[in-house]
């Protein structure tokens, strides 16, 4: 656990709402994506994860590391999803079927790896991050320059620097070499 993560834990224990916001920025979309795999409904997924955050806040004194929070996040979301499916088995479109039971083991692996990659990208300075994300979406340099109201050379510059930083941090993310 690095200093950054230590600060979040400490802040949480002290009741600093800002720490919860940081956890929201980092984990919320990934957890929703995870919940969605179970409940197959975007709003329900959001509801479930929202409740888990509130639960985390009330239990904030119990977490001593970012790993225990992460564990609790995924466990709690899964439990709520299973409860939801059980309670709504009559009118929900999809219930706890074979597909989920056999594949759910890897749901967490998939979500967590993507989440950690995204976090690495989110650590980039604003301008670089924006340019990089738009590049991922296959936008051309000219299109990106237009969208962000900056010059083409700025885009090229930011892209190059983002690539350099990410190559250091995510060495074996093969596709980086194709961007």
């Amino acid at each position: 656990m690095n200093i950054d993560e230590q600060n979040i834990i400490q802040g949480l224990k002290k009741g600093k709402e800002k720490s919860l916001k940081t956890l929201y920025d980092r984990f919320f979309p990934a957890l929703c994506s995870y919940a969605y795999k179970y409940v197959k409904d975007e709003m329900i997924a959001g509801d479930i994860v929202q409740e888990v955050y509130i639960k985390i806040w009330y239990k904030r004194k119990n977490f001593d590391s970012i790993y225990s929070i992460r564990s609790y996040f995924y466990l709690s979301v899964r439990n709520s999803c299973l409860n939801y499916i059980r309670d709504n088995s009559r009118h929900v479109k999809v219930d706890l079927d074979e597909e989920i039971i056999s594949k759910e083991e890897n749901f967490v692996v998939e979500e967590e790896v993507h989440r950690m990659i995204r976090q690495e990208i989110d650590n980039l300075p604003d301008a670089m991050r924006r340019v990089f994300n738009l590049t991922l979406m296959d936008m051309s340099v000219a299109e990106i320059a237009e969208a962000l109201h900056v010059s083409v050379s700025t885009v090229k510059n930011q892209r190059m620097r983002a690539r350099e930083i990410l190559r250091e941090k995510l060495k074996d993310w093969v596709f980086l070499f194709f961007i």
């Binding site: 919320f28 994506s33 959001g46 890897n106 074996d172």
Partner: protein, 386 residues
Amino acid sequence: MNNSQLNIADLIFSYIRGNISEEEKELLDKWRKSSPENENLFKNLCSKESFTTKLETYKVFLAQSRYQNIQKHIKRQKVRTIYRYSSIAAALVLPLMVFYFFFSSPDELSERIAEVEQLAPGKPSAILHTAEGGEITLEAKDFEIKDKTGAKIVNKGNSLVYNKDSVSDDAAKERYNKVEVPRGGEYQLVLSDGTRVWLNSESSIKYPVVFKGDKRIVKVAGEAYFDVAHNKERPFIVVAGHTKVQVLGTEFNVRAYRDEDFIATTLVEGSVRAWYKEGTAETLKPSQQYMYDIKENKHIVKNVDIELYTSWRMGLFVFQKQKLEDILNTISRWYDVEFFFENNDVRNIEFTGRLKRYESARNLLKILEEMEDVKFRIKGKVVFVK
């Protein structure tokens, strides 16, 4: 199950990072080989497509803006400490209201309410303070006057134009004019060097009738947008509060309202240097903003979406995830009305949108009501919010 899955995720991430150890690699390989699903997942996680697809999914969920709700639940815990402040606020408000009702007859009251009910938007109306100390109202009435230096000052439509071609007296001292725009107003100027200035509500600018000397200096309070005439020999400097912005020939926005505790300079085009008192000067690039925090006594430079900070000039309100409180502050200045919160929870609701500024406040408020869970009740120049 949970922890072993998280361990695998960490192994894969270490691999992607490029700092996986020998033992870890063995564990990872074992997992990959144990089923074709695992191997497929691993290959997927190393690809661009699955990540970009995931980013799209993330966007969808982030758009739900759930943090507000989470915050609401959390703040309920802290309710006890807020009581003290609420009771003070209530005590202050009451006497004013009582006064209003006691000293106006019911007929007068309904008349007054009816006439202001429309909440018409600000008309361009400003006041020009001349160098001699005179005051001229700049209604939408055209006029032409000559300053003592011979400079011609033309008021047309809602803009004031200075022309130095006819300057006869090249006297040593600079003579200053000041334009003040009240709440509910807006005005434009063209200074003697050709620099164009747009003034927002509750703002003022003090400037020389004709620029002399090696620097062009103007003083601003409130909010102003500049399109500075290019002149390499004479840098243009804007003084706002204790911050100064120096430009060569560019477009930028300065915001320094007395009731806000920050001063912000946003650069649209060109290049400027901004600094506070004797602090470090920062050079801004287009789309960058220099923000000085008066309370904390420090400044930051950040990249921004310029539309959010300069759209007022084009007659638009553009806001992105802005708190209702702040939005109503701006509306209050432009329409010269007061907002009173009957429900404190709604202060922090965030809005994102682009609205036309010249529509009457009533329409604007109706649109806001459509966007989020908030209700406005208009009573004369006061609007109750809940």
